[in-house]
């Protein structure tokens, strides 16, 4: 059907659930196999006539109608609205200097934040999987805080902490490091909201990693660092990239946690989502929508890239077991 080759499910299903709130990162290998098993029942005859279970038409029909009404038709509105512009007009709007400056900040800070989270996310995942220490379960549960905490709350908390008289700000400002109301503030906010992605994509892979591999490498004389670099890292790499891409994708659209700490100065610390809102408030619907379309196209491309990365993660993991 969908997957030409049946992939044996890597490990037990339980490891998957823990990480799945981040990404539909797993269970795919198994689920496709299950889907195919279902298909066997229907393969012998004409499709609809041989379906044993009822409710296919109703459930699929409802799904499609609801999907169109809530998601697809409203999203298409953005593209139709932008189609009113000619191509040169569109290019002029989306490449204006203020807009370009916002792209640079949004994508630069998102990339930086995702990179920080890749390094520290791997570290946190490693520590949570490999070591036992007091409070580990609590720390593990709290890693998801940025998913659960409303972005506006994160925004005002970070802005308060890093303002000149806040807990962090009062330490950093005398050193000449101003975080609040600068691009650095954007980086801090995006690091906060992207924090769980890498941890939650890497964690299940590390849990499933057969210990024998490392033991074998150690027996063959590899140092611990070589062991990590040559054995663990290549296995974790697809998940690490997936986590990076998820954190990056989330960061470029982020609004609530950033605007309080960013200062929002045009050309300096104004992110693209805020620019869309600014244009809306000036009743420049066409301009706002044109920029939104650029962001949508980039987001959709990232979504496809993430899907491909997740498929790679599953294959890499499947090859191990």
């Amino acid at each position: 059907m969908i997957a030409p080759i049946m992939i044996p499910d890597p490990g037990d299903p339980e490891a998957k659930i823990a990480g799945r709130n981040v990404a539909r990162s797993d269970a795919g290998g198994r689920s496709r196999a299950a889907g195919d098993a279902g298909a066997v029942a229907t393969r012998s005859g004409r499709r609809s006539a041989r379906r044993v279970l009822p409710g296919f038409g109703l459930s699929l029909g409802y799904t499609l109608v609801y999907l169109c009404l809530i998601v697809l038709i409203p999203l298409s509105a953005a593209f139709f609205k932008t189609a009113q512009l000619t191509w040169p007009e569109f290019v002029a709007v989306v490449t204006a200097p203020r807009v370009m400056a916002s792209y640079r900040l949004t994508f630069g800070a998102s990339f930086g934040a995702a990179a920080i989270n890749t390094v520290f996310g791997l570290l946190v995942a490693w520590v949570l999987v490999r070591y036992r220490f007091p409070g580990r379960a609590l720390v593990d549960a709290l890693v998801d805080l940025p998913f659960a905490l409303p972005t506006a709350v994160a925004g005002i908390a970070l802005a308060g902490l890093f303002s000149a008289n806040g807990w962090f700000g009062s330490l950093l400002v005398p050193l000449g490091i101003t975080v609040a109301f600068t691009p650095l503030g954007v980086l801090v906010a995006l690091t906060f909201i992207g924090l769980p992605f890498v941890v939650r994509t890497v964690q299940p892979v590390l849990e499933d990693l057969p210990r024998e591999l490392e033991e074998a490498a150690a027996t063959l004389g590899a140092s611990r660092w070589e062991c990590f670099r040559r054995v663990v890292f290549p296995i974790v790499l697809p998940a690490l990239l997936t986590g990076f891409a998820l954190a990056f994708a989330r960061a470029i659209g982020e609004y609530g946690s950033v605007i309080f700490i960013a200062g929002n100065m045009p050309m300096v610390s104004e992110i693209t989502p805020l620019l869309i809102i600014t244009k809306l408030e000036q009743y420049d619907y066409t301009g706002a929508t044109a920029i939104a379309v650029v962001m949508l196209v980039i987001s959709f491309t990232l979504l496809l890239a993430i899907n491909a990365l997740q498929a790679w993660t599953r294959r890499r993991q499947g090859a191990l077991t």
Partner: protein, 270 residues
């Protein structure tokens, strides 16, 4: 080495997670419990709480029904385009919340597709409660579906087929076989969906119009108070949302564990 790594990881998490969380409660309670209580029992704050609860009470059940329907179609049947459909269901997660709000303005706003018609009939959607609900439904759209689809796929169709062959109706099969098998996964999705529905800021901010006592949800109320330099009140409102986040994490932890146990016992049946 081991303790060094643990210390580095904990230092990072402390700086970026625990301190900001503690800071919210510290600021909220800094001026005493009296100020705190006054801030959250302010009429505008109470209206914001009511609207937040109402929004979640509409958005979560709608997305729950959708999630179950989508999972039933995708997990129990095979049809062409299934992968595309699954990707499309995830689409709202990759759309910026600001754009989620914007697209509804393009449809229901005064200059939008339905704007003139809505004005003739005196129906307000943008800058009113329906717009807030719609934007919230959009941003929480995939939560239940993406929990249920892999879970129901993993469980296969044998049990349902057996029930049907034994003469159970479609609804009987669903209520007695499918639903009990996925209860915990479903709850898990609902908890995440609810947290996002109550905490959504960007999308709601675009369509709300920030009318106090009428179209302000809790996150918007926190924003307004903060921008007016009423920091204690802003953090008091924010602390309610932070509490919601903590409750969500606790529920998620326990429900997640039950879901794992459940799948462990049910998933190995075939």
């Amino acid at each position: 080495m081991r303790w060094l790594l643990i210390a580095a990881a904990l230092a990072f998490l402390t700086l970026f997670l625990f301190v900001p969380l503690a800071f919210v409660f510290y600021e909220a309670l800094k001026k005493g419990i009296g100020v705190y209580v006054a801030a959250i029992s302010d009429p505008d704050a109470l209206d914001a709480i009511r609207l937040t609860l109402l929004t979640a009470a509409i958005a979560v059940p709608l997305n729950l029904v959708f999630g179950v329907a989508a999972a039933w179609a995708i997990a129990k049947f095979s049809f062409p385009g299934k992968n595309v459909l699954t990707t499309l269901i995830d689409l709202p997660f990759s759309v910026s919340p600001v754009i989620a709000g914007l697209i509804y303005v393009l449809i229901f706003g005064l200059q939008g597709w339905l704007g003139p018609w809505l004005r003739e009939h005196d129906i307000r959607i943008i800058f009113a409660v329906p717009g807030i609900v719609l934007a919230t439904i959009f941003v929480t759209f995939p939560f239940v579906a993406r929990e249920l689809i892999p879970l129901m796929q993993a469980q296969g169709t044998e049990q349902e087929e057996a029930a049907t062959v034994l003469g159970a109706s479609g609804w009987q099969t669903f209520w007695r076989i499918t639903l009990p098998n996925v209860t915990w996964g479903l709850l898990y999705g609902v908890i995440l969906c609810n947290a996002r529905a109550m905490g959504e800021f960007g999308a709601v901010s675009v369509v709300s119009g920030h009318i106090r006592g009428a179209t302000n949800t809790l996150p918007l109320q926190a924003e307004i108070l903060y921008n007016e330099y009423q920091f204690s009140a802003a953090f008091a409102v924010a602390s309610l949302l932070a509490l919601l986040a903590l409750v969500t994490l606790v529920l998620k932890y326990f429900v997640g564990r039950r879901a794992v146990d459940r799948q462990h016992s049910a998933g190995h049946a075939p």
